[in-house]
Symmetry: C2
DNA sequence: CTGCTTTCGCTACGAGCCGTAGCGTAACTG
DNA sequence: CAGTTACGCTACGGCTCGTAGCGAAAGCAG
């Protein structure tokens, strides 16, 4: 359950082999070459992978989660349905891979103040959530994840957790500037990061996807003020 | 689009008539009796309504959103599938009604301090989100709502918006205690309430349903501190 | 070039669910 | 009593799922 579980998902190497733009560092400890060229037979078409993931995002944007059909994606990607099932065991996993790369565009800008940095990230995230592919996929994936711990784990590894890096970066920058006190207890700092992350992600998602109201500059300012709490916009002692 | 739209959903009076324990105040301006007894013909079985909603919640808890089938619910409620469709046009609307009542148990306790009140509500909400019915339904409904504005509106009216009352109550209590300054601009106060609500709801949902980690007393304390910001646990200044 | 291996495209299939139609019956009103 | 509406039941076409079987294509080893 904790290691690389090579016997699991035996017929779906794509799940572990094709992170089109996401996670890195993935080597099988038995292969001496490092790149793990398993050679034999006809190689999988990388073009097909891209076509499938593109078709998934496009269909997601046009027809939403409910309209996304394996057959539909296959047709659009000009690929046989069986080819799709050879790489992804189900719609859920396919969409995780298709959507994960969209989140890679989020970056921590380092604009010189913690407030500006937070506001910038919030705006970026809001823009991402405004895209129809993201909107159609994210909550549906989260919903599926509540019933399938394995899927939830994949979602967290591919989509959610990588973004916690942003919080860490922002914190570090603010600490370097002296806006934040340096970390004391490392585990306490971790919990703090988790709280900040859940708060930003959850709040913006709720605002955009549930309340259905836009993220305006004014809202961003107010929310950031709420987050910063004791540190108002002009850094008073 | 903005009024009561009587011509819409013409064959599904249950959608407008049977809020089993939710919203109130619903009168057709043409009926003189107030209770709007439309008399003629065989009346709908109220027992069937309850049986269907119970069966929906039970199935939701056992099989999750994906396992919830109209035929399944009908069988479990000992009701014909057609009876189900006579009252709810689709699974989505059915689940809204089935789940909405669960949220009525949330109450604002007024424990004597804003901090205690917030923590109590957070714990209540976390307990609600821990229930399998809620867990299976909430995010799935939100996801469907992103594609169907009408559904999103229903979700907000039946599930989300009623809970904003809690924030208003807590604010009022805190203002009565002098913990919070009285409202100035009423529209600004409204936006403030929206932000607080989205923050609490979104964050707890994200923590429980996405990150999948429990809401401990320690977490609640930390999160509340983040929310309170300039007002630490002992009311200084 | 000749095998060997793996992928690919295609077709077909049983299963399950959807939402509706049709019918005869039950319940309630005047 | 007649009139009206709800109910249970059955059956249906349409769609999606996920799998199986086939022949052909694309690489690699000798």
């Amino acid at each position: 359950m904790s290691a690389a579980q090579p016997p699991l998902t035996p017929e779906h190497p794509a799940v572990r082999e094709h992170p089109p733009a996401a996670a890195a560092a993935r080597e099988a400890p038995g292969s001496p070459d490092g790149a793990a060229t398993r050679a034999k037979g006809r190689p999988r078409s990388a073009a097909a992978d891209l076509a499938i993931l593109d078709a998934t995002r496009e269909t997601l944007a046009e027809l939403g989660w409910g309209g996304l059909t394996m057959g539909h994606v296959a047709t659009r990607a000009k690929v046989a349905k069986t080819t799709l099932y050879r790489r992804w065991p189900s719609k859920n996993e396919l969409v995780v891979d298709a959507v994960a790369s969209l989140f890679d565009e989020l970056v921590m800008p380092d604009l010189g103040s913690l407030r500006a940095d937070i506001e910038a990230v919030v705006v970026q995230f809001a823009d991402l959530l405004a895209r129809p592919e993201t909107q159609a996929a994210l909550l549906a994936l989260f919903a599926e994840g509540t019933r399938d711990p394995q899927l939830r784990r994949r979602i967290r590894e591919a989509i959610v957790d990588p973004q916690k890096h942003l919080v860490r970066q922002g914190r570090a920058a603010a600490q370097a500037r002296g806006e934040l006190a340096p970390d004391g207890d490392p585990t306490a700092a971790c919990e703090e990061i988790d709280i900040i992350f859940d708060t930003i992600a959850g709040t913006v998602e709720h605002r955009v996807l549930v309340s259905g109201e836009p993220i305006t500059a004014d809202w961003t300012r107010r929310f950031t003020s709420l987050l910063l709490g004791p540190f108002p916009s002009p850094p008073a002692a």
